[in-house]
C-alpha cells in the first residue's frame, strides 16, 4: 500500500524524473507503474520493479560510456523499454531525443546530426536497419541499442547491443560496486537542467529542436495533475508517438509526478482492443480518433437488428436531450433522469465498454477543431470529454476547459500558471513556467518566437470570449481583414461549414474584399445517400452539385452559419454573402489539396481566379473550363456553368451571450 503522500526524499522536493522514480519506489513501491501486453497477456511492473529495471539499464549505459551531456535518440513505438530509456538516460545527466519512428532515413539523419546524437535506441530490426543505413552520414553516432531481437541475431556490428544485454551489464556493475554513485548523480540533478529535446515536425522548413527543462515539464505536469485531480489511481494507454510532446507529458512526466500506471499496447494494430481491456481513466486523442470511433459505431448500428436499432435510437435521442445537462449538473426532470439511468444500463454503458471508455474520468481532445456533433455525442454518453490547447513550446498546457464549463467552440481558460494575451495582430501569446528554454542551435528562431520577457508567439489567432474562454480561430498568417476592417478568419468559417456532413471542403475568400464569399464542395457519399432517399436523380458529380435542391440545402447551411456568426461579436462582420458549389471535387491529384488533404489556398485562388472574380462582380453564373488529371495520369477537361447565390446577412442586434450573463 502506498505510504501517505510525502513529497520529499531526503527532505526536498524532487525536481527531476529520476528523483521522482526514487521517490515513487518508496511511496508507491507495490503499485503498478507500467503494464505491457505481451504474448496475449498483460504483464506489469510495480514502481519498485520499474526502478530496478531502470537502474540496471542506466548502469549498463554508463558501462557503455554514456555520460552527462550526451544525446540519446529514441526511435520506436510505445514500448516499455523505450519509456525506461528516458529515465535511464536522464539519471546519468544525458538528454533523450525521441524521434518519429515513421520518418524516413533522410529526415532522421538531419535530426540525429543536429542534436549531435551519440547513442541511438531503436525498437526493432527495421529501425536498426534505418540507423545503420546512415553510415557515415551520422558520424557522431557511436552505439546502437535495440529492444526486439528478432532478425538481429546475425548482425555483426560490434557497437550494436540489445537492451537485455545492457541491463545484464548494469546488474553486474551493481553487484560489483553498488548504486551509491548512481544515486548521488541523480540527487545532483537540478530543475533547470535540460530534460529532453523534442523535434517539432515542422510543416515548413527543417524541424526545430525544442529544449525543455525538468522545471518546464515537472511544473506543467503538476498543474495538469491538480487541474484534473489526477493521482496514482489513474490508468492511461500509451499509443501516441513518443516524439510528440503530448505523449511525453501525459505518459511520462505526469505519470512520474502522480505515480500513475501507463499501459503499452501489444502492437499499433491492437490499440482499440487493448483500450477496451485496460479502460483508461485519463485519455487523450486528436479529433479524428473520436470521429473514426463514432463512424465505426454508426456503421455497425446500421447492420444491427431492428429492435437493437430502435433501442439505440430511442436512448440516444434521450441522451442528446438530457445527457449534457446531467453531466454539467444542471436541473433535469426526474422522469428524464430515470430514462437516462435506464439508457446507461441498456445502451450507454455497453457502448462505452466497447469503446474502452467505461472508466474514463477525464478525456481530452486537441490539435484541431472537433465537430460540435461529435463532441456532443460523447459528452451526452456521460463522458467528461474536454478540449485543451497546447504546444510543444509550452510543455503542452496553454489553456484547458475546467469541468462544467465545456463547449465545442472554445479551448477553455488559461491553465494554472499560464498568462494569455492577445497581441495587436490578433495572435495568441502566452507566458508560463512551462515555456521552453529555446530551440537547439537556432538562436534566430528562438528570438522570433520568444520575447525577452518570456512571452511566446503561438502563431495562432484567437480571442477571449465573454466567459473568459479562449477561442482559436485560425493560423495567424491566414487571418485577414475585410475592406471595412472587420476580422476575417477563413478557417474558422470553413470549419463551421465543414461540420455539416453534406459539405466536404470549403474555401473562403474575403481578405481585403467587401464581404466574405465561399466555394463549397459537396460530400458525395452523404449527398448521394440523401439523393437516393429523396428521389433526386443525377448522372454525375457535376450534375448533383448543380442540382437546385442541393443548392437549396447549401443555402440553409450557409444561413445557419451566418446566424452563428451573427451571435459572435468578433465574427459578426464576416458573414457569408455569396457562395457557389464547385462543379468538381477538390483533389490532391490536381494540386488543389495537399497529400494530407489540406486546402492549398493560393493555388486555388490562381486556378479559379475567374470564379472568384464572378463572386465579387455581382454576376449570378459563370462558365468555367477546368483541366483535370485522372488517377492514372491522363488529363481531361471539365466545363460547366456554375451558379452563384446571394445570401442576406443576418442582422446583428445584440450579443445573446452577453445579455445572458
Amino acid at each position: 500500500m502506498p505510504s501517505p503522500a510525502n513529497d520529499s526524499v531526503r527532505g526536498r522536493e524532487p525536481a527531476t524524473f529520476p528523483q521522482f522514480l526514487l521517490l515513487n519506489e518508496q511511496r508507491f513501491g507495490s503499485i503498478a507503474a507500467m503494464r505491457h501486453k505481451d504474448g496475449g497477456i498483460w504483464r506489469s511492473w510495480t514502481w519498485a520493479e520499474l526502478c530496478d529495471e531502470v537502474r540496471a539499464y542506466s548502469l549498463g549505459l554508463r558501462e557503455l560510456g554514456l555520460k552527462a551531456g550526451d544525446r540519446v535518440a529514441i526511435i520506436g513505438q510505445n514500448r516499455p523499454r523505450l519509456y525506461w530509456t528516458f529515465c535511464a538516460v536522464q539519471a546519468l545527466g544525458a538528454v533523450p531525443v525521441p524521434v518519429y519512428a515513421d520518418s524516413v532515413a533522410d529526415e532522421m539523419v538531419y535530426v540525429l546530426n543536429h542534436a549531435e546524437v551519440t547513442f541511438a535506441v531503436a525498437q526493432d530490426q527495421e529501425q536498426v536497419d534505418k540507423v545503420l543505413s546512415m553510415g557515415d552520414q551520422a558520424p557522431l553516432l557511436r552505439t546502437i541499442l535495440y529492444d526486439e531481437t528478432r532478425g538481429l541475431r546475425d548482425y555483426e556490428e560490434s557497437n550494436l547491443h540489445s537492451i537485455d544485454a545492457v541491463q545484464a551489464m548494469g546488474r553486474e556493475a551493481l553487484a560489483r560496486s553498488g548504486d551509491t554513485e548512481w544515486k548521488a548523480g541523480i540527487a545532483a540533478g537540478k530543475g533547470g537542467d535540460l530534460a529532453v529535446m523534442l523535434y517539432t515536425s515542422g510543416t515548413t522548413g527543417k524541424p526545430k529542436g525544442v529544449m525543455l527543462s525538468f522545471d518546464n515539464l515537472v511544473i506543467s505536469a503538476r498543474s495538469g495533475n491538480s487541474f484534473d485531480k489526477l493521482d496514482f489511481n489513474e490508468v492511461v494507454l500509451a499509443y501516441l508517438p513518443l516524439a510528440w510532446v503530448g505523449d511525453h507529458v501525459f505518459t511520462y512526466a505526469q505519470a512520474y509526478v502522480a505515480g500513475y500506471c501507463v499501459c503499452c499496447p501489444e502492437s499499433p494494430d491492437t490499440v482499440s482492443e487493448d483500450r477496451r481491456e485496460i479502460a483508461p481513466t485519463y485519455f487523450f486523442a486528436p479529433p479524428r480518433v473520436y470521429e473514426t470511433l463514432l463512424t465505426g459505431i454508426m456503421v455497425r448500428m446500421e447492420d444491427a437488428g431492428k429492435w437493437k436499432k430502435r433501442m439505440f435510437r430511442y436512448f440516444m435521442d434521450n441522451a442528446r436531450r438530457v445527457g449534457e445537462p446531467i453531466l454539467n449538473g444542471e436541473k433535469v426532470s426526474l422522469s428524464d433522469r430515470i430514462k437516462y439511468r435506464l439508457g446507461e444500463l441498456m445502451v450507454y454503458g455497453p457502448l462505452k465498454n466497447q469503446l474502452g471508455f467505461l472508466n474514463m474520468r477525464v478525456g481530452y481532445t486537441a490539435g484541431e477543431a472537433i465537430g460540435p456533433e461529435i463532441f456532443r455525442f460523447y459528452r451526452s454518453l456521460g463522458l467528461n470529454l474536454k478540449q485543451l490547447y497546447g504546444q510543444t513550446e509550452a510543455s503542452v498546457y496553454i489553456s484547458a476547459q475546467p469541468d462544467g464549463e465545456i463547449s465545442a467552440e472554445t479551448v477553455g481558460r488559461p491553465s494554472p500558471g499560464v498568462e494569455i494575451e492577445i497581441a495587436e495582430s490578433g495572435e495568441v501569446m502566452y507566458r508560463s513556467p512551462g515555456v521552453f528554454l529555446g530551440y537547439y542551435k537556432n538562436e534566430e528562431a528562438t528570438r522570433s518566437t520568444k520575447t525577452e520577457d518570456g512571452w511566446v508567439h503561438t502563431g495562432d489567432a484567437g480571442f477571449i470570449d465573454a466567459e473568459g474562454h479562449l477561442r482559436i480561430i485560425d493560423r495567424a498568417k491566414d487571418v485577414g481583414r475585410l475592406a471595412d476592417g472587420s476580422l476575417f478568419a477563413p478557417k474558422y468559417i470553413e470549419n463551421k461549414l465543414k461540420f455539416f456532413p453534406n459539405i466536404k471542403e470549403v474555401v473562403a475568400f474575403g481578405d481585403g474584399r467587401d464581404f466574405v464569399a465561399v466555394f463549397l464542395n459537396i460530400d458525395l457519399t452523404s449527398v448521394a445517400s440523401w439523393a437516393e432517399r429523396n428521389n433526386v436523380s443525377y448522372a454525375s458529380y457535376q450534375e448533383l452539385a448543380a442540382h437546385p435542391r442541393v443548392y437549396a440545402m447549401m443555402e440553409e447551411h450557409v444561413d445557419q452559419v451566418n446566424r452563428d456568426l451573427a451571435s459572435e461579436e468578433m465574427m459578426a462582420g464576416s458573414q457569408i454573402r455569396r457562395f457557389l458549389v464547385l462543379h468538381k471535387e477538390l483533389d490532391a491529384d490536381d494540386g488543389e489539396l495537399t497529400r494530407t488533404q489540406k486546402v492549398r489556398r493560393s493555388f486555388i485562388a490562381e486556378r479559379y481566379g475567374e470564379l472568384i472574380e464572378a463572386l465579387y462582380d455581382g454576376s449570378t453564373s459563370k462558365h468555367v473550363d477546368t483541366e483535370v488529371v485522372f488517377e492514372d495520369g491522363r488529363k481531361g477537361r471539365i466545363s460547366a456553368t456554375v451558379e452563384i447565390r446571394d445570401r442576406p446577412p443576418v442582422p446583428v442586434t445584440a450579443f445573446r451571450k452577453e445579455a445572458a450573463e
Binding site: H36, D38, G39, G40, I41, R43, S44, W45, E49, T149, R150, G151, R153, D154, D164, E266, S267, D269, T270, E273
Partner: protein, 277 residues
C-alpha cells in the same frame, strides 16, 4: 512479480536428430510416380540439406506439387526411396509424416474458416500434445498446464508473424494475405524439422510478397528450420533460396545455386519454351 522474461526464446526443432547443419536431411532417390498411364514424376533424385531453403521450380504441370505430396506422404511413389533423417521411409500416411516433423502449407489455403486465428494455430500443436483425449476433456491439472505451454508457444508464433490484432478473428473473415500468414503459423506451430511451402506467395501483391519473404527468411534464420518451397515468382525464388531444383514434365532438368540455374540452357528453354521432341 517479475513475469517479464524476454530472453530470446527459441521454438527449437523437436528432438535433435543428430544431423549436422548442411548434411542431407531428406534424400529423394530415383523417385517415379504415375497415375495410371500419366507419369507425374520420372526418376527424380535430389536432397534437402539441414538448415537450407530449397526451392522447387518449374512450369505448370512440371510435377512440383506432386513432389511435395510425395515428401508429405500423401502420394506413394511406385519406384525409388525416400530417406528422411537418415531413415529410409516405408509406405506412410500424411499424419505419420507430420509426426516425424514435416509440416506444410497449401497452394489454396486449407484452414478451418470458422475458427479463430489462435485456434487454427493451436491445431498445429496437435502432434505435440501428450495428454490423451480424456485428459483434454477433463482439462484440469496436467492437461491445463500442457495447454498453457502450448498456448505460450503459439503466442510466440503470433508475435513472430505480427498477427496479434487478428488473434481472435475467425480466419474466414481475413483477407487472403493474412490467411496465408496464419497458415504458415499453423505449420510453424508443429515445430517442424522440414517445412514445405506450396506457393506461399501466390496471389499476393508486392508488399505482401515482401512481408512473406521476410517471414520465410526469419523462420529459417531464427529457428533454423529447413524449408522446401515451390514458387512461381522467379525474383522471389532467386532471392530466398540457397539451392534450386528445376522440374519440367516430371523430369529434373536443373539443380544447383540460383546462379547456376539461371544460366542453365535447359532451364531457359523450359521457361521460354522450345519445341519438345
Amino acid at each position: 512479480m517479475n513475469a517479464h522474461v524476454q530472453a530470446p526464446r527459441s521454438l527449437g526443432v523437436r528432438a535433435d536428430d543428430g544431423i549436422a547443419r548442411g548434411a542431407p536431411l531428406l534424400v529423394m532417390d530415383n523417385i517415379s510416380l504415375a497415375f495410371g498411364g500419366v507419369k507425374a514424376i520420372t526418376d527424380i533424385s535430389f536432397d534437402v540439406r539441414k538448415g537450407e531453403i530449397r526451392a522447387i521450380i518449374g512450369p505448370n504441370g512440371a510435377g512440383k506439387t506432386s513432389m511435395l505430396n510425395v515428401i508429405n506422404g500423401f502420394y506413394h511413389p511406385q519406384k525409388g526411396t525416400i530417406t528422411f533423417r537418415g531413415q529410409a521411409r516405408r509406405r506412410m500416411r500424411p499424419h505419420e509424416a507430420a509426426r516425424q516433423g514435416i509440416a506444410r502449407t497449401f497452394q489454396n489455403i486449407a484452414l478451418f474458416k470458422g475458427m479463430t486465428t489462435l485456434d487454427n494455430i493451436m491445431t498445429g500443436r496437435i502432434t505435440l500434445m501428450k495428454r490423451n483425449m480424456a485428459w483434454q476433456a477433463l482439462w484440469r491439472g496436467p492437461a491445463e498446464r500442457e495447454e498453457i505451454e502450448h498456448r505460450e508457444a503459439v503466442e510466440q508464433i503470433i508475435d513472430f508473424l505480427e498477427i496479434e490484432h487478428i488473434r481472435k478473428v475467425p480466419v474466414g473473415r481475413l483477407p487472403y494475405g493474412l490467411q496465408k500468414r496464419v497458415e504458415l503459423g499453423r505449420a510453424l506451430a508443429a515445430e517442424p524439422a522440414l517445412l514445405l511451402l506450396d506457393e506461399p506467395m501466390a496471389g499476393m501483391n508486392v508488399e505482401e510478397k515482401e512481408d512473406m519473404s521476410r517471414f520465410i527468411l526469419d523462420v529459417n534464420q531464427q529457428y533454423g528450420t529447413t524449408i522446401a518451397l515451390i514458387e512461381h515468382d522467379m525474383g522471389v525464388v532467386m532471392d530466398l533460396s540457397d539451392r534450386v531444383v528445376v522440374l519440367d514434365y516430371g523430369r529434373k532438368i536443373g539443380d544447383g545455386s540460383p546462379d547456376d540455374v539461371r544460366n542453365n540452357q535447359a532451364v531457359i528453354d523450359a521457361y521460354l519454351g522450345v519445341p519438345h521432341e
